[in-house]
Amino acid sequence: MAIEVNGKSFETDEEGYLTNLSDWEPGVAEVMAKEDDLELTEEHWDIINFLREYYEEYQIAPAVRVLTKAVGKKLGKEKGNSKYLYALFPYGPGKQACRFAGLPKPTGCI
């Protein structure tokens, strides 16, 4: 499978995650979001950028609590919770936002 971004083709796995994480560019997130009927706002990008920064440091997506805490610190306590994240990413911050950010799918009992 593959997605088209600005005339360039990006290979994805059967679940829609980028095969080569280093291929990622912002347009990938835009196209994936459009396929999910989402319009990416600044709030979405705050999350996507945080995911990518965290991944770069730890080679894994952040735990939900790490993410909500970081969001709370940056955007105010009322936004530091899962409800806020699910409002932005209805399929879940762990899975949908990771996919947009070009991260591998988190696996396990989650």
């Binding site: 059967e14 679940e15 829609g16 396929e35 999910d36 730890y58 080679q59 894994i60 952040p62 735990a63 939900v64 609590r65 790490v66 805490k69 899962s82 699910y86 399929y91 762990g94 899975k95 949908q96 996919r99 988190p106 696996t107 396990g108 009992c109 989650i110």
Partner: protein, 514 residues
């Protein structure tokens, strides 16, 4: 990733036994494992050319290794007692999701090649040739079984469909036709130490965050130690406890209990996973490799006790198999069970009067408890029969004022699976997960309506994740599922915590705002 296109069952007061409809779930198969997932587990990378002979050889091998499997293949008399006991049959109407129908998928091949009648008069005994279609059918329907073993409670011969399902998956793996979800995860455990693939620094970062949070909330420096040599207790918990909600709220609770007990404890990066998916795929070798990490960690850290966190199938592997897989554990303190469940640990402290609780901290909830299948039907807690049902409930009742059981036909040893166990907790199986939750959702909705229940507690990482996902399909909220030790965490009074007076003040403020 469009929303799955399938009909979500409607909830009624009872789940009626449906009339059969052939093939309603024949379309559903999980993603197939790739060579990267298979080879680290010792399986062929992809489907081998001589799969036909290899499948029959493997079936012979398993029959000779497991006497139980041989008995299960021979003993069924088609009495029908199991037919309406599977949550997947009740919600899909597909006869191949009846326990006997599922067993027969393997049994018909066994009969054809291994019994006198099947060899010479196959049409008389339901014996069928092994074909590529058979293989695909196995792949589909043996991944629509959560290995919950509810059917085996009702079978007069005690036939365990879970064991047949595990055998079928092992046969499929042995010819390179395994499931991506399970095999990718087991490969991660072998490589990184846990199902999520969390590296040590990420676990450490998460735990430091928890210490900060608990300190901010209570003013008490509760520690969440990692890789501390010489600690008394090694806690082995599902990696979802580090990562997901409401799991992490349970982990916070374990830490508070250890803190109040005044015991030294640690987690381990080597054994940063309680779960053991080796069981789901029936692979003794992989199950053993995964279990041996726990022994290795216990030896390296020099601990005296091993305690397991809230994880259903982990407790089965720990309780029933750990000693034979990874024992003997003669280096641990013989005064304590090897291993011990966190609920047993907390319950003992409660019995000794060593923990203090403010039960009103959970007064915003009315709880019920979902018995997880592996805990309910494959293990025990404490030293009395039924302890696996009584002890978690006793813990909940010690920390909550409001508790109600669900319909007794749906709890205890007759508990219905959450719908996502046994290696089915993956997005590509969402249809069967949502449908399979129907009996549990029905019982839950009844106590919500009749008894004012607001939340359901569980002691299994899979159950918690599954309910988080499927509750909204049935019109409920994802956060209505909670961890048992989350309730403990809410109510426990830590020595030296921010004074009651301050708490009372903040309560007043909250009341004032309301």
């Amino acid at each position: 990733m469009a929303k799955a296109e399938f009909d979500v069952p409607e909830l009624h007061e009872y789940v009626d036994v449906p009339e059969l409809v052939e093939g309603t779930m024949a379309h559903l198969s999980p993603y197939v494992a790739k060579p990267d997932h298979n080879t680290p587990l010792g399986f062929p990378g992809e489907l081998v050319d001589d799969w036909h002979d290899k499948v029959l050889e493997k079936l012979d091998d398993l029959r000779s290794r497991y006497r139980s499997l041989q008995v299960y293949l021979d003993a069924c008399v088609k009495c029908g007692a199991c037919t309406d006991k599977c949550h997947y049959y009740l919600s899909t109407k597909d006869p191949k999701n009846m326990p006997v129908g599922r067993q027969d998928l393997l049994r018909k091949v066994y009969r054809r090649y291994n019994t006198f009648a099947g060899k010479y008069f196959p049409w008389l005994v339901g014996a069928k040739d092994l074909t590529r279609e058979t293989l695909d059918e196995w792949y589909s329907y043996y991944h629509q079984c959560s290995q919950c073993r509810r059917c085996s409670v009702f079978c007069p011969y005690g036939i365990d469909t879970a064991e047949i399902s595990m055998a079928a998956r092992e046969i499929l793996d042995s010819v390179g036709y395994g499931q991506k979800y399970c095999n990718e995860i087991i490969a991660k455990v072998h490589e990184k130490g846990n199902n999520l693939g969390l590296p040590g620094p990420a676990i450490l970062d998460t735990l430091e965050g928890l210490e900060e949070d608990v300190f901010d909330e209570t003013g008490v420096a509760v520690k969440y130690p990692l890789d501390v040599k010489g600690a008394e207790i090694l806690l082995v918990t599902p990696s979802a406890d580090f990562f997901a909600e409401p799991h992490v709220d349970g982990l916070i609770g374990y830490g508070k209990v250890f803190h109040e007990a005044g015991v030294s404890w640690t987690m381990s990066t080597t054994a940063s996973e309680a779960g053991n998916f080796g069981m789901f795929i029936g692979s003794y070798e992989n199950m053993r490799r995964v279990a041996l990490r726990i022994r290795q960690a216990a030896l390296e850290l020099g601990v005296k006790r091993i305690v397991f966190g809230e994880c259903g199938h982990a407790w089965r592997v720990a309780y029933a198999f750990l000693n034979t897989l990874a024992g003997p554990f003669d280096f641990l303190d013989p005064r304590y069970p090897v291993p011990q469940h966190i609920c047993e640990y907390t319950y003992d402290l409660i019995q000794q009067g060593k923990l203090r609780f403010d039960k009103s901290a959970n007064d915003d909830m009315t709880l019920t408890f979902h018995d997880s299948c592996n805990v309910a039907r494959a293990t025990r807690m404490g030293d009395k029969p039924g302890g696996q049902f009584d002890i978690p409930r006793a813990v909940i009742k010690a920390v909550c004022n409001n508790y109600v059981d669900m319909d007794h036909e749906t709890i205890g040893e007759r508990t219905f699976c959450c719908g996502g166990g046994g290696g089915l907790l993956t997005d590509d199986l969402m249809e069967i997960r949502v449908k399979g939750a129907l009996p549990r959702m029905t019982a839950l909705q009844n106590v919500i309506k009749d008894e004012g229940v607001t939340h359901m507690a569980a002691i299994c990482a899979i159950c918690k994740s599954q309910f988080t996902k499927v509750l909204p399909y049935y019109g409920m909220e994802m956060d209505q599922i909670v961890s048992v030790h989350q309730l403990v965490s809410n109510a426990i009074i830590l020595t030296g915590q921010n004074s009651d007076e301050e708490d009372a003040d903040s309560d007043d403020e909250a009341d004032g705002e309301a």
